[in-house]
């Protein structure tokens, strides 16, 4: 009986507190400029910001206390237990470990594919050391175009967030990436050269061929009238034969 009453009391109390929180927002926005605006004026309720595309503007946006933004891994505390990778429903983690001189396991590679990540936060719950957190950062597309890494991140690789200490530092990774790109470009160049050579050869062939063709066409052209000229003369042939 006491439990019954207490249950109802708790339910009503939490319900009223919830109503108070939403009611506060309601009161805040109902009779302020947010509502009393003209329709052509876009200065607005707090959660709507005219975004001009700068990080400064993005930083001004007040997000909720428990907002789930991009993931951040504090690599120094990470123990490579891979609980996050197990918890992740869509497998967006790529984790490798490496033993340091002191014998501790450290992530040599801790990559999160932001393209796949759905910001569910299950990995953060699973993390035993609390090193994996969700930041309030949400302007990922903007970061891809600003800062020192301008232009480098506008590709699929840019949608992977890289953490990790170990044999591949960020610079090394970038170098590897650069080398890969160089090799690819060299290959491309080679291919282009080859194709250019081929094209040149083909062009040469073509250049020869058109002359040939022209030579062939010219007699054809000259020969073309011939049948016409011959035709009238031909019918008599069978007749003659």
């Amino acid at each position: 009986m006491i439990d019954f009453v207490k249950d109802i009391y708790d339910g009503m109390k939490t319900f009223m507190v919830g109503m108070k929180v939403t009611g506060g927002y309601l009161k805040e926005n109902m009779w302020t400029e947010g509502v009393l605006q003209k329709h052509d004026d876009m200065t607005l309720a707090p959660n709507t910001v005219v975004y001009d595309g700068t990080v400064e503007k993005a930083l001004q946006v007040q997000v909720a206390d428990r907002f789930r933004g991009h993931l951040h891994n504090d690599v120094e505390r990470c123990i490579v237990c891979k609980n996050c990778a197990t918890a992740c429903p869509i497998d967006c983690f790529w984790i490798d470990g490496q033993k340091t001189e002191t014998g501790k396991l450290r992530p040599s590679r801790f990559d999160i594919d932001i393209l796949k990540c759905m910001y569910c936060g299950l990995c953060v719950v699973a993390c035993p050391t609390g090193c994996l957190t969700m930041t309030k950062e949400w302007w990922g597309s903007q970061r891809a175009q600003t800062g020192d890494s301008k232009g480098e991140r506008n590709n699929l690789h840019g949608l992977i967030r890289e953490f990790g200490v170990g044999y591949y530092t960020r610079e090394q990774k970038l170098e590897v990436e650069r080398k890969r790109i160089e090799i690819a470009e060299a290959k491309k160049k080679k291919a282009a050269e080859e194709s250019a050579k081929k094209a040149a050869a083909a062009a040469a062939a073509k250049a020869a061929a058109p002359a040939h063709a022209a030579g062939a066409a010219a007699p054809a052209a000259t020969a073309a009238p011939k049948p016409d000229a011959v035709k009238p003369a031909e019918p008599p042939k069978p007749a003659g034969s």
């Binding site: 019954f4 249950d7 109802i8 009503m12 319900f15 009223m16 919830g18 109503m19 108070k20 929180v21 939403t22 009611g23 506060g24 927002y25 309601l26 805040e28 926005n29 109902m30 947010g34 509502v35 009393l36 605006q37 003209k38 329709h39 607005l44 309720a45 707090p46 959660n47 709507t48 930083l59 007040q62 206390d65 907002f67 991009h70 951040h72 891994n73 957190t133 930041t135 309030k136 950062e137 970061r143 890494s149 967030r161 890289e162 953490f163 960020r170």
Partner: protein, 495 residues
């Protein structure tokens, strides 16, 4: 009926058959008015709902569809075309008319754009829904599929007939009015189940089944609350209930603490229970499991498009209004203003109401001025819409219940409370004559109960006002700010 019939026949000097036809046509008029009112209320409610949602979530909400943008463009175009020499006669007339309406549209825009930006979005929505194709799935049970939305709307719409709108201005005052409303609103289940079955879609069927289970369960607490109100009032007529709540010829006549909500502790417990059950009955959040978007695609109206879908929506908002109106009528004094001197001195023409001795039932009803009806209608509409507004507020506060949680809330919480309060009220009304006798007469009893109700009302209203006016504690606010700042300054990756 019969006196009207005879009077009409003698006045018009026609056959009885013509009088019947006339009466049938005349009875269609309130139906049409109510039907149009339902559409406008449903449309406006969608706008209010979107604005409330936007305010709670700190968004802007609809703000683009203003009179000038929605009507003005069309009117300007028509006026300009009407001026051109090529225009035919009809074009000129239309152009002149709409051109003349332009100043009005501008005024509307100034008012609407300032106080209700985006108000006409519901007209745009309605036009869009009417113009959309209404698809009937090939494998659907076609007659049932087509008739289901009509039944759902009819149940909400039929209940509107019995609501007490004002002192003289109402469609019908049945002597079983409240029973009629409870009975006809539960007809909605049949329509929803029919829609779920006829769609030939597993989500729709699940939604329909859930709705049936839900409404069958929640009918019980609703009915228990209604029964309590019936015992308190001693009548099932909704108008009669309101006259009881106004009170007859005692010190507290017309004051708001005479309302059922404050006058009995059991009603005070039951009113929130009734409101919760009403939420569940009109399938609103947090009890909207029949159309849970995250589980069933859209529940029972998954397969519906165009106007048939709109009819379901209209029915939902009409049902909200009906159940809120019923709550107002049985707990919140209906159309009475709640201020004694205004009610008795200003609105009443002749205060001839009398109580049946020994009870609080009404023998003769007081007579009101004809114009008081409009004020009363306004008061009723305000109270009803306040409850509808609270329903919307709850919708954007609470998440959805799970099915078993919802059922356990009904069967283990609301029904025991309802039964307890029903028994309490029954004993209360049994003991009433003895209390009156020991106090030395009914007048003393009514006075005493009135003063006690006043105390309860002051305590309750004061508590609610205090609760909502005190802001969150400064500690709480500081904590929130600290968290926000800490999160903002958190090192992001060196990416």
């Amino acid at each position: 009926m019969i006196p009207i019939f005879e009077a009409l026949q003698s006045w018009l000097q026609v056959d009885a058959a013509w009088v019947w036809v006339l009466l049938a046509v005349a009875s269609l008029i309130p139906c049409l008015i109510a039907f149009l009112a339902v559409q406008v209320i449903a449309g406006a409610s969608t706008y209010v709902e979107r604005k409330v949602a936007a305010d709670i979530q700190r968004r802007v909400g609809p703000n683009q569809c203003n009179p000038n943008l929605f009507l003005g463009v069309f009117a300007r175009e028509a006026a300009e075309r009407g001026k051109s020499p090529k225009a035919d006669f009809g074009g000129k007339v239309m152009g002149a008319l709409l051109g003349a309406a332009l100043p009005l549209i501008d005024i509307l825009d100034k008012i609407g754009g300032r106080w209700a930006p985006g108000l006409l979005i519901f007209l745009a929505d309605g036009i869009k829904l009417i113009m959309k194709e209404s698809i009937v799935p090939a494998s659907a049970d076609k007659p049932l599929f087509k008739i289901a939305p009509v039944i759902v709307l009819a149940s909400a719409f039929g209940a509107l007939a019995a609501l007490p709108y004002s002192s003289w201005f109402y469609i019908a005052d049945f002597n079983i009015g409240i029973f009629f409303v409870v009975a006809i609103t539960s007809l909605e289940t049949i329509g929803i189940l029919m829609a779920g079955w006829a769609s030939n879609n597993k989500w729709a069927l699940l939604g329909g089944m859930r709705s049936a289970a839900q409404i069958v369960s929640y009918e019980i607490p609703t009915s228990l609350a209604v029964l309590t109100a019936i015992i308190l009032a001693g009548t099932m007529s909704l108008q009669g209930m309101i006259f009881v709540q106004i009170g007859i010829n005692n010190l507290h006549q017309g004051w708001f603490w005479q309302w059922n909500l404050f006058s009995s502790p059991f009603a005070l417990i039951l009113a929130p229970a009734y409101f919760l059950a009403a939420l569940a009955e009109c399938n609103r959040t947090p009890f909207d499991i029949p159309e849970a978007e995250s589980e069933l695609v859209a529940g029972y109206h998954t397969e519906y498009t165009g106007m048939r879908f709109a009819i379901f929506f209209m029915a939902e908002y009409a049902m909200m209004c009906v159940l809120s109106g019923l709550a107002v009528a049985i707990f919140l004094g209906g159309w009475s203003t709640g201020i004694g001197p205004i009610e008795t001195g200003f609105f009443m023409k002749a205060n001839i109401g009398e109580v049946i001795p020994g009870t609080n039932q009404i023998a003769t009803q007081p007579i009101y001025h004809w114009w008081a009806g409009f004020f009363h209608f306004g008061v009723f509409a305000l109270k009803t819409y306040a409850l509808v507004f609270i329903m919307m507020w709850i919708r954007w506060t609470l998440p959805r219940f799970r099915v078993d949680q919802m059922m356990s809330l009904c069967w283990t919480k609301l029904i025991p409370i309802g039964l307890f309060c029903l028994n309490g009220v029954a004993i209360w009304s049994l003991l009433r004559p003895y209390a009156a006798k020991s106090l030395g007469g009914w007048e003393n009893y009514h006075n005493l109960v009135g003063w006690m109700s006043l105390l309860v009302a002051i305590a309750l209203i004061g508590w609610v006002v205090k609760f909502f006016l005190t802001p969150l504690t400064t500690e709480e606010q500081e904590r929130r700010k600290l968290i926000a700042v800490a999160n903002l300054n958190k090192p992001v990756s060196s990416f």
